[in-house]
Amino acid sequence: MPLAFSPRTMRAAGAKQCGLTLALLLVALSPQAEGAPSKKKDDRKWCLMCHREPAYAAFKDSAHADLLCRDCHENNQFNPHEPVEEFSGDLTQLKPFAKSDPVALAACAGCHEDMGTSAELMPHGRADGALKPPLPYCLDCHGEPHQIQKVEDLPQPQRRLAENATCTACHGNPERMDGGTLAIGIEPVETYADSMHLRKVLLGSANAPGCVDCHGGHHTADLRKAPEQACNKCHEGATAAFASLVTHKPVTAAQKPVSFWTQKFFAWLTFLTILGLLGHISLDITHSLGARRGRPGK
């Protein structure tokens, strides 16, 4: 009889009995007793019996390829683990479990301890150390961990564009911003979209900044306190007056009157001037052509 390992057949075979056997095996092959290669072999042998697709193919090429399943999936130290919930059998319906579970953050911090506690993850963290929706977890920004790539491997400006896309996924979404506890609106994204900074990024500049270059990724100071610090990374000697120009305020009569009226002035100046010049030209052309038709001999 051919062996077919799927959750369905596993359960059908009697998970409890099987689980006992495997648990004993795990104890025997504990990490302390074995070197890394056999650990990995062990992981692949047992976890991948069920969890081969769809994540594993991309996982092999990801930045996390060297990790063991249980390095992150800390709740599942015994195989086979208790089903998280009644499973339909459809692997594509599996919930992205880590996205909704703070334990996932703990799993990340196991290796990425330099990322600090949530209180330090300004402005996304909370002073009380709690992470609550709608504030993001690691994976909300960093994406599916089985497919994660090192951002340093991307050349500029693709790296910045990827980072920008991560930020704008929430900050460019009015539903996320307007009703949320932060209520800062999508103006930062909109005004950045019309800035020299983004235009240069889109035109391939390796130096023009994205969101993260000014606002930081994990450890960022509150830019409202000393915004010129961010400017000084590129514009040496920038003052608070300099930084006041990059406010992410929309160009409206109320918010940025000087910019607003400068634009209005030039819009009308250009419109009226060109209208007059085109009028002059059309009269000239009409006359010249008419004169030619009227007096062919001339």
């Binding site: 020299m196 120009l245 250009t270 000239d284």
Partner: protein
């Protein structure tokens, strides 16, 4: 600008011993009283001989040695300095418009912007070329101002480039002519109202563009000197005035100078600096008549003297 005629003619003949003037002596200044009218003064041609030179040359003995086709009578409109100033200004202008476009365009993703940036080898080099072209434009402008200063010190600037009530009259007459309510084109002076418009539009435009461009080039320094709203104005004025200037030059200036019926496809005056007498009569009727009057006077004087 050719603002060099000194209409106060009595003064001019009083300085015959002066070194050759930097710029074209006005036609009415023809110092025919000190030399026979036939004397050829070829080497100084480019630096501005009396505009009636060519007329005289056709009668010179040298021309009779070999049977060459009779030269077309021309007058010098723009001397070498003016043509150089125009050349520097025009080439830097085109370069500035093209290299500035990608960052001024609201959609940087647009294919035209990307194509221009690729043409110049990347956005950083595009910006570098923009700054070099800006320096060339500043040099052209300083050259022009120095030229005006030299003119002013030598012979006094004429008012021929300044706007005058006659321009409004000419505008009215020209519009009437266009719609058929007037039989003939108005007789324009040395600089018609639309040429004065071009000159002063560029004058204002260069001042705005250089000022706002410097502020954008050195934002840290600028915000250290001026309040931040100066940068705000410079930021928007630079792109918006650039659009206005580009439209005015590529539509209006090109039409009036090169594309209008009768001149199409291109006028060569900006290269040769010369107008035929026929062109002068047609396009600057008032100046032509003045020239003819001055010639008649000079001839009468020469006869008297001889």
């Amino acid at each position: 600008v050719d603002a060099l005629e000194s209409e106060e003619t009595p003064v001019a003949p009083a300085e015959p011993a002066e070194p050759p003037p930097l710029v074209a002596a006005p036609a009415v200044d023809a110092p025919e009283s000190k030399e026979p009218p036939a004397a050829p003064v070829e080497p100084l041609q480019l630096l501005g001989q009396p505009a009636v030179d060519a007329l005289e040359r056709s009668e010179s003995p040298a021309a009779t040695v070999e049977p060459v086709p009779p030269p077309v009578a021309t007058v010098l409109r723009f001397d070498l300095h003016q043509r150089l100033q125009h050349g520097l200004l025009a080439s830097s202008f085109v370069l500035l418009v093209v290299t500035g476009w990608p960052l001024a365009a609201h959609s940087a993703k647009a294919s035209a912007s990307a194509a221009i940036v690729a043409l110049f080898g990347g956005i950083e080099r595009c910006s570098g070329i923009h700054r070099i072209a800006a320096i060339v434009m500043v040099i052209a402008s300083l050259y022009h101002l120095a030229y005006l200063a030299v003119l002013a010190s030598r012979r006094g600037l004429s008012a021929s480039m300044l706007p005058s009530p006659g321009d409004l009259r000419n505008l009215g007459q020209n519009l009437l002519f266009f719609v058929g309510k007037r039989g003939e084109r108005p007789k324009f002076p040395r600089f018609s109202y639309f040429e004065k418009f071009d000159y002063w539009a560029v004058f204002w435009g260069v001042a705005i563009m250089v000022g706002s461009g410097l502020v954008r080039w050195f934002p840290v320094e600028a915000t250290g000197i001026f309040p931040p709203w100066v940068y705000e104005i410079a930021h928007y004025a630079h792109a918006d005035e650039a659009l206005l200037a580009a439209l005015a030059i590529f539509i209006w200036h090109f039409y009036n100078v090169h594309l209008r019926p009768g001149v199409f496809p291109m006028s060569r005056v900006f290269l040769t600096g010369r107008l035929t007498l026929e062109q002068l009569q047609e396009e600057h009727g008032a100046e032509y008549e003045e020239l003819m009057r001055a010639r008649a006077q000079a001839e009468a004087k020469a006869k008297e003297g001889g």
